[in-house]
Symmetry: D3
Subunit: 274 residues, 6 copies
């Protein structure tokens, strides 16, 4: 069960409201790299967690933290929208602070939300929940979480670079920090469970007889004119410790030329196909 306390997890201060930066910040709320995604992803993973209960607890605790991130970012968007012009005649529209506003801001911040945050990204595209990855497999989920936090911290760093506002930089430095922790937190689960060698291949419960292992450890060079890019993946022991990496180049098709024959009567095809 969820509870709420009235103060924000982190202080939000905007020295110079910037409606265009409000649009940019939306990516951290409703973008695929944003906080709605991680909040909901950890929440749904927690609800489906099976096995050692501590991972479920951990997921729910961090899901809860991410809800708090949405909250302070939402406040940051609203503060950046203070002073945005809501009428074309308004004096504010002539203020140099908001000079490039009408072209650069999200018009729905005026038209639809009345100067507050929306669950959309920096292009105004609403977040959709298909981005909530929760597979029921702990290692797949931890990788998905590391991915989300990796792209999240990339985004926070880019936002940091795109503002001069001291308050916003301070808030973003907190977000960058928490993303640092969260990246490592999920990867630490993998390390604790024995590391990648033990976890791979995901899922590690697939019986070996379900796998055509003769195809499991070669890099396939599908290029007609490029040499194989050599690296850790082309030779040496595989990361799951079960085989040696090799290379297949060029690839030989192993299948047939597909042929579906004629269309069936009543199937809605043209007569010429039948």
């Amino acid at each position: 069960m969820f509870h709420h306390s009235s103060k924000l997890q982190y202080e939000v201060r905007v020295d110079t409201p910037d409606p265009q930066f409000a649009k940019f910040l939306q990516q951290a709320i409703g973008g695929v790299e944003g906080e709605i995604r991680v909040a909901m992803q950890y929440f749904f993973q927690a609800m489906g967690a099976r096995g050692d209960a501590k991972y479920r607890d951990m997921l729910m605790m961090t899901a809860t933290e991410e809800l708090s991130h949405i909250e302070f970012l939402g406040h940051a968007v609203a503060l950046n929208l203070e002073g945005a012009p809501v009428t074309v005649q308004e004096e504010a529209a002539k203020d140099p602070i908001v000079n490039a506003i009408m072209g650069g801001m999200n018009p729905r911040h005026i038209l639809s939300s009345g100067l507050s945050a929306m669950p959309v990204n920096a292009n105004g595209v609403p977040f959709d929940m298909s981005h909530v990855y929760a597979t029921g497999n702990l290692a797949a989920d931890m990788t998905a979480n590391a991915m989300a936090e990796g792209s999240g911290r990339v985004l926070a760093s880019r936002l940091y670079n795109m503002t001069d506002d001291a308050g916003m930089k301070d808030m973003l430095s907190f977000l960058i920090a928490r993303d640092t922790m969260h990246q490592q937190q999920w990867l630490a689960v993998i390390e604790e469970l024995g590391g990648m060698e033990a976890m791979l291949p995901i899922p590690n419960s697939t019986p070996e007889e379900h796998e055509a292992t003769e195809h499991s450890y070669y890099f396939l060079n599908t290029s007609l004119d490029e040499p194989t890019p050599e690296g850790r993946w082309t030779k040496g022991k595989s990361l799951d410790g079960k085989a040696e990496f090799s290379v297949v180049s060029p690839p030989e098709p192993l299948g047939q030329k597909p042929d579906l024959g004629k269309a069936r009567k009543h199937s809605g095809a043209q007569k010429e196909q039948m």
Copy 2:
């Protein structure tokens, strides 16, 4: 530039067509765990790759392989739809092979595609390209790729369990194998570049002064009644080698109570809010 040869990468054989399994297989084509996603993800990452060109080549080569996976899976869907009833009177509809068809199959396999594959998932929801993750950051992208292949192999294993058809099991055992390789391939890039310690936190180019590092290494227990789940993430050296993990419990709000004051004139609010 792309080229095509006429045979499939792997042989597709369906001993007993099963229109319901055709619906399930769609998840491997147009689902978030599927082949359109990885083909397009590696393709877009390759097009945006900066730095050592071998990673770009590697991405493009595997993108090309994934296009071939779409192709043989598409053929598998069509073969499973052979014999599906296209008229209610048809004898096939009474055949025990297709007895549960009308309720369990995707009706659009009859109505829209004329008994062939579609770029949709097992619920008939079309794939959308927002799932193509390509950040311009090599480590974030490699993590995204490992995630995609992890969930992809989970899916392929589940599909393997959901069919009795020897031909389909054979094809899926190939897919499971290639997902084994691809998972490791992307993680091997990280290992080659110095491993997680060197890569983390992603992006590792963020200047330290952009980060409130006092918040970078603690696990936040946001629960009111659960003890902190102890693990690799609560103590010991952080995975990036820069600090020690710790715990903050319970959390103290660091921010203000948000207050946006009154609504502005002409902002479309109710008078009572002004």
Copy 3:
């Protein structure tokens, strides 16, 4: 059956074409507050209406009116796009009237529609029909309609404030007026049927034994540090006339700690979860 007459329901005059305002106007066509939504919502409600036929007739009549609103708004968008630059060399691009165009307008008004209206919102996001709410419950539908018209009039008022064009202001003043009527029209159905006391709770046909009525009339204060916000909802007779409002603070969890146990064999989980 539908019919059409050649003149617009209301006159559209654009004194000074403004391609950026064309983008803003799109919200009134293809936004969630827009006319496609209400036209389709009333149309689908009418098609599913059961009970007194006069409500079906009323819905269909107003659906028909809303189609006419799309039509004059679509013309307004096209007129605002007159003079938008279609080549970078064009003299018009240097005209002060269109000076901020390229950054502020929707590029698809040039690239995709050839200077005419599209079924998208002010961010260029296409309208999707999931926003057509039609439940088969008259009171729920009337509330949904009042909601749509409420947000629609908020939007029309904001658009009115965002233009200086006398023609556009005139057209919007008509739209504001019709939204005034339509808001009341749907609420009048509720009043006619006995008012909120008779209608609530929606659906009023749910047998009382299907409801845990001991939980039906308290406001739940889920905050850890805020006093209950007192108001009409915390004391006095409930709006459905059946009970007294009260407050529960703080909430007591009534359920168990969830635990799904171990993952099943063959479920695609990691071995460590089984």
Copy 4:
């Protein structure tokens, strides 16, 4: 800031797992009538609230409660999926309890989530955040909330009718009860602020000179052959107390026949249009 406690808001008990009912329950999680929607809607309204702070507090408190509803519904979905077949050979598949499963359940509950809840509706369509209505106008938002709770209680009642499971009926009776309260809670705000007469038309801050009031109070009969459906909306004092309702029938077009003339050079039209 958000917090979590480990027990569910309400007890979840499933006497006879039913994977098909798990699919139905998804509508209450990820449907437009569901809990993700209301949780996020109240949360975003709270973040954008201006005016008397008690409404913000109220919104945030109930947003927090709705998060807890997602949580117990998510658990209910997982419990209903216990025993669903994960291999075609599995004995469970022959159990009469799960006899109709493969055709009637959501295949992604096996393939994608590993037997747990997803943020999708009963058709497997992911929730998208465009359904989070938050306008910055208190009366419009309260109406949107009443709408959401109205359709939510309709859904909960229908789900109650679609199950025989005593545990599920008990849980749904709680949900029905809370929806009863929440419907009234939002309407009580309107009553407290002076009732509909004071609130209407929404927004009540639009200056009267922005409205063509001669068009604000008539019902438009757009039918060619139906008499005007008489009712509260055709005569008597308007609900905002400002005028008398009337009828216009048949409607007279007030606008011009639209004509965009010829296509411009370089606009991508056919020569024949220029």
Copy 5:
């Protein structure tokens, strides 16, 4: 301006209600091959029509007809849902007429719409307006319309085959007939304007110097092992009458190997990419 008359364009009779067929029929309402699409497509094309006004009139007249098609199909869906079980105990659920219902019908026809039509397709996916193609180019639009009617008639024919109900077959035979007319109607515009030779290439207003015409008339064989499929497109006069078709095989890349060099500082990439 639109008007409505109370009778349906065509009679709808359902002899044996079939909730599963109701789901199938949804494809003709809210599918990409369906009536919402064509109604809205012709409507938006009409609103953007430039050039000879008769094409605009024609588009608007047929848009209006298509709205009437939505209407009778919506009624057909509702009639097919009569008798669907709304409680699990209901006697109707045991009726052989509705025996396969729960697995095969769209659960939202019970849960969300209360036994009536929805603006969704046969998978329950809502129609989205991105499928409304209106380019401002008459020939492109006519082709888009012929495409929509072609796939629409394919769908109607398949639906005809999927039902035994005499009433439904009668209604669908009308729909098939109207799709016959509408296909030809749009192609007749092209014929009237001089036929394909005059219309092609679309847009025929592109100045020849904007086109690298040396690449305009060869078929590119991108296969490594298949001979060129010979046909009308490999030799003879081009359809626009301007050149002879030829073949290029195998293709020679005309461009460079792409190389974006190193990542820029502050761009959010990894250090190793810089």
Copy 6:
């Protein structure tokens, strides 16, 4: 099976990087008129092709070519983003070359992709695969392909007009040329199979007794005040050669007034509807 060679199909040269034009170019990648669409459309049509195998080969060959178009356009986007500001302080931001950037470019080109192409359109809306039309009917598919190439060439021509960059104009002149070929290529299939008269109505395999042919050849004038727009579609032999075109004006409703009666008990309606 697919293969790749390292050079682009066509040379990409950008003389003056223009981040706003990068946004425009996205329409040609991820727009409905773009290359992802045609690549995937031809690919899925090829996978479902039945009948003469040469059409399948042709489809797959051109699908392969379109993948190469995505590739060079993706490179063009990245080259146009060179020099876009990634920090607000950066000198580049003051360069006249990029002066209008921040308002006019897609912010996600900085925030999400790190200065490279994305699978989105010019509004930043991701491509979704519902636009991949593949019906299993050869004539319907060829029409869909002609439509896609028609709108594609309209787009390419408009993009050509919107840039002054010689390199971009050169690349677009190639794209315009290939779209010329591809339009004709698909229409040539229809010509080869006997032309429109033989192909129409699509599908030409629908038995005549499934069609109410008395409704197949009249244009329906649904306007109340406009004369029938006369043309090739109102008189003369129909394009399928089977009848004469005629006109029905005004239309007579052929159906009943719909009436669903009262709502059923337990259906979630209001009591007043029952």
